[in-house]
């Protein structure tokens, strides 16, 4: 992507903009990460209490039958399950900044399950797919923007958003299954 961009800049003569863009991009990344520190520190602390207090285990015991089939490689009552579930729940309630630390924790656990390799495992790909499709019930930011532009009914898009999200998540899961099946086929062919 970077190379394509650079080649294009040479053709279109937009080198000046590109120079600016390089440092703007880098700065935005660092600002984003620094902004994440407060959220990460706070929620990871709270999550540790939830873990020690047995709340995570309770959550995974109650809800894991639902998600178990999505992650056949994760043992029941493994801490990864608890984090996956809390990430999904937080996403559903639109708590994006609480969901991220939980999702990262889940990834950490999944990586450990995979023998700490630097390659994404099947469960990790599935988990990421669900997160990029994002299970949202209440799109708070969008509603806020619609309010600023004087919408007669800012919340009217909740229904269509939930329906579209449901399709996105379902197709993410199906596409993920398909790619997994293809990887298995290829491995067999070798």
């Amino acid at each position: 992507m970077l190379i394509t961009g650079l080649v294009f800049a040479m053709i279109t003569g937009r080198m000046e903009e590109v120079n600016e863009a390089i440092f703007e991009g880098a700065q935005e990344a660092v600002t984003l990460c620094l902004g994440m520190i407060s959220i990460l520190v706070f929620w990871l602390g709270m999550m540790r209490i939830a873990q020690e207090g047995g709340l995570l285990k309770l959550l995974s015991r109650v809800l894991s039958p639902l998600v178990q089939r999505l992650f056949p490689e994760v043992p029941k009552e493994h801490p990864a399950m608890g984090y996956i579930l809390s990430n999904m729940t937080a996403n559903m309630f639109g708590l994006g900044n609480a969901a991220t630390p939980m999702g990262i924790k889940a990834m950490e656990q999944l990586k450990e399950l995979n023998g700490s390799k630097d390659e994404a495992s099947r469960s990790m790909i599935t988990f990421l797919a669900i997160n990029t499709a994002s299970l949202t019930l209440i799109p708070t930011t969008v509603i806020a923007i619609r309010m600023t532009y004087d919408s007669a009914n800012p919340g009217e898009i909740i229904g269509t958003t939930i329906a579209a999200t449901a399709v996105a998540v379902t197709s993410a899961i199906l596409i993920d299954r398909f790619f997994h099946w293809r990887r298995v086929q290829r491995a067999r062919a070798k």
Partner: protein
């Protein structure tokens, strides 16, 4: 509307209450445990920086060089042919690349067409129904040091496409095409 706003305001405090309550019931030292877990937060944020810098610089250059516009023009006839309204194409392409970028495009569309127009509703639904694939991938995999992403990107982008199609479909049947 008011119910939802109030509800979402109560969720986080309520969650904290439940977590602390469970600590008391199970006699977990809340403060020490909090510190123990929170320590990792800083390290985690810092470890994401290199991944995010690489990705955002690439996307930023891609946009500024005009390559994105070129891609947009290339995709426009194709997307229009399958029923995507022309005005929505920039948002569809921007959505998986950049969260702030697509939020900007969405606000623009709502400002030009009005929040209660077909385009306005479609833009709102699209923005809300999927996440920024590139960003989520970088943050989640970057934080735990995954370098080989396997099929992740393909799965994420194809799912985005399905979400886009679903958004157009549902907005059309619920609100009608105006």
């Amino acid at each position: 509307m008011a119910v939802i706003t109030t509800l979402s305001m109560y969720i986080i405090p309520l969650l904290l209450f439940v977590i602390l309550l469970s600590a008391i019931i199970n006699k977990v030292p809340a403060y020490e445990t909090f510190i123990e877990g929170a320590k990792d937060g800083f390290q985690m944020a810092v470890s994401i920086i290199p991944y995010l810098v690489a990705m955002l610089v690439a996307i930023s250059v891609f946009r500024a060089s005009g390559a994105l516009d070129f891609l947009l023009e290339g995709l426009r006839p194709m997307l229009t042919a399958i029923g995507v309204p022309t005005d929505i194409v920039p948002l569809a392409v921007m959505r998986p690349l950049s969260g702030t970028g697509s939020l900007g495009v969405m606000s623009d569309l709502i400002a030009t067409h009005g929040p209660d127009s077909f385009i306005g509703r479609l833009a709102s639904t699209m923005q809300g129904s999927t996440d920024t694939t590139f960003y989520v991938l970088t943050v989640y995999f970057g934080a735990v040091g995954i370098k080989k992403i396997s099929d992740s990107l393909k799965v994420g982008l194809l799912a985005d496409l399905c979400g886009l199609a679903a958004a157009i479909f549902f907005v059309t049947i619920v609100f009608g095409n105006m």
